[in-house]
Symmetry: C2
Subunit: 341 residues, 2 copies
DNA sequence: TCAATTTGATTAAACGTTACATCACTGTAA
DNA sequence: TTACAGTGATGTAACGTTTAATCAAATTGA
């Protein structure tokens, strides 16, 4: 029943050769207007659609890219809507270029053979795994690739990253501007050259610029998740330092933090000011709504796809490194130090 | 440079025929242990991986399924992490069966020709579009298909749905049990046979059972989004009825609602009890944490994949309709009517 | 010992395309 | 007139697999 109609059938019905039909489909311009019409009409009638695999087999491109989200099944970051937004951006961008997107949640020991197997046009890799063996494997494939939020050192890799340093700086400056001096940083895992690392650098720069000495005591490396934030609250509550503000390096950890503080009798912003990072959608509906560093995640995804497709089509020798700007969004969770009760 | 090694190369090097290599790969059992070893060794050495498109071309299956999320670009439900969790469940389930997942955010007038084009093994369709032309097209394809949260009436379609009626009942009963009598329902768009419709039915059943007459005045059909919830707060605040509790038919709308109430000077749970639906991850970290109807979204996605793959492989003539149970999770946002201030 | 069977391997056609080489015309320039 | 270019079409090899049809050799049974 599912015997699909092929280019041969079209050729037979139209009384032309398969080559001609192929030429019509691919608009090579080597066909007369008459036959083009004739063939197209029959294609319509028969609801013919060319087989992707046959094409792929000949052309060695699949019009398929994969977006690799390493932590999909690890549960660490799964609940950060931020990543989904990224994926959405990718899907969105791809859709405009008639390629389709394979979604791939990998574990660290993924073997990536599917790239060769499926003749993928390209790969978008989300999240740092700079030092993992996976990266190595991907590179060996020699397939076009764009790294999103990965902060890899090699300058010849295509990357889209956020201006995290600026974000860290901006947020810290905001707090200092409000009169806070003892500002904790809820950094998340702080690995050299990672997202949080850069945000931390910005934090340090702001402090230094304002003559505030940084105190390692104030750096909390709890996981950058909602639970991590929740747990960090304990540490802050029992800290010897008189912390008056916290810079959480992700909105989700800020959420957990605020809730955690609440549970030990500290409320935001009256007892402590809190600023987040990412500006995920919920932040404006939280109580209190969250001051945060905003990034345009959707366009981040789209930018990545565009870079990838340029690379695939060899269109433009585009820049290999795009840094997405950040901005500060002030809401209710941060108030002047003086207004503290 | 990217001249990949094919089955022919392997055959040549191993000094056997391509058929033999193919037999080794597919473990047809028609090959001697000796040659199996010999060939496998060379396959390893050459890092050979069989071309998916060539296989596909022969076998007419792509080991590819698509998960269709209709509102990906519509923005209506994009911010409900619930849907992403569903997608994650699908990816997760698929991964265990060595098929890969194409992510597809469609608009209503999607033509679905890619199904034929790519020889997709199957389709998982998320979200209601029962009366759209898209459904019609999908059905015509004759491709295995599972509908997730789609509530279609045809009994011969494969569907995975939530026991929404029970959820609506359970939540309402909970509120009634706490002594509430004037219970508003923040239903979202209330179309016959849709998710919210069933939840609403459950709501009505609980009321009736307890001898409370339902009041159309108390039904708020605001969009089931965070903004929708926010806007609903106004209506509730200005309602003539003395509403003491609200059943929001999604957690995100509950979030928006609580924030909205807060902004007009009503706080939860002291002024109003609020119960949500879905149990998305954030709910437990909200202030107050949200009482809600819990569903296991991840397993929902996985169930759908499993059904789909059973259908594809013709494994079991499984049941076509799976209803996922719900349960009540009580947290801080609902309190006894008597304790109201 | 010889026929019958089993085991292990090969040949070649097919899947649905694309693209190169070829060809039959029609017209045009010398 | 002949040569030549241009136009529009065709024939066919190739892409990398799978699989049915064969086949040769080894093993078995009587």
């Amino acid at each position: 029943m599912n015997n699909k109609v092929s280019i041969k059938d079209i050729a037979r019905i139209a009384n032309v050769s398969v080559a001609t039909v192929s030429n019509v489909i691919n608009q090579t311009g080597r066909v007369s207007a008459n036959t083009i019409n004739k063939v197209n009409k029959i294609i319509q009638e028969q609801q013919f659609v060319p087989s992707a695999s046959a094409r792929n087999l000949k052309n060695k491109n699949s019009h398929l890219i994969a977006v690799v989200v390493p932590f999909l099944e690890k549960g660490i970051l799964q609940d950060n809507p931020f990543y989904w937004e990224l994926v959405r951006g990718v899907e969105n961008g791809a859709r405009n270029h008639e390629v389709q997107v394979i979604l791939l949640g990998t574990n660290e020991d993924e073997d990536f053979s599917f790239v060769k197997q499926r003749d993928l046009d390209g790969l978008i890799v989300v999240g740092t795994f700079g030092h993992s063996s996976a990266l190595q494997k991907v590179m060996e494939m020699g397939v076009p690739c764009v790294f999103l939020d990965s902060y890899l050192s090699s300058p010849d890799l295509y990357q889209v990253n956020l201006d995290d340093e600026a974000g860290g700086y901006l947020g810290t400056k905001h707090l200092i501007g409000l009169g806070h001096k003892t500002i904790a940083a809820l950094t998340g895992k702080l690995e050299e050259g990672g997202v949080n690392y850069f945000r931390y650098q910005g934090y340090l720069r702001a402090l230094q610029e304002c003559g505030i000495s940084s105190d390692p005591e104030l750096v909390i490396e709890e996981f950058s998740s909602i639970q991590g934030g929740y747990q960090a609250a304990q540490k802050i509550g029992s800290s010897k330092s008189r912390i008056s503000a916290v810079f959480a390096f992700s909105d989700v950890s800020a959420m957990g933090l605020i809730r955690g503080l609440h549970d030990i009798g500290l409320s935001v912003p009256t007892d402590l000011s809190v600023i987040g990072f990412d500006d995920i959608f919920y932040t404006q509906f939280m109580i209190p709504s969250l001051t945060t560093i905003r990034q345009d995640v959707l366009s981040k995804g789209q930018t990545a796809v565009n870079m990838l497709l340029d690379q695939i089509n060899g269109t433009v020798s585009s820049t290999r490194n795009v840094t997405i700007p950040v901005s500060l969004t002030v809401r209710q969770s941060t108030i002047p130090y003086s207004k503290k009760v």
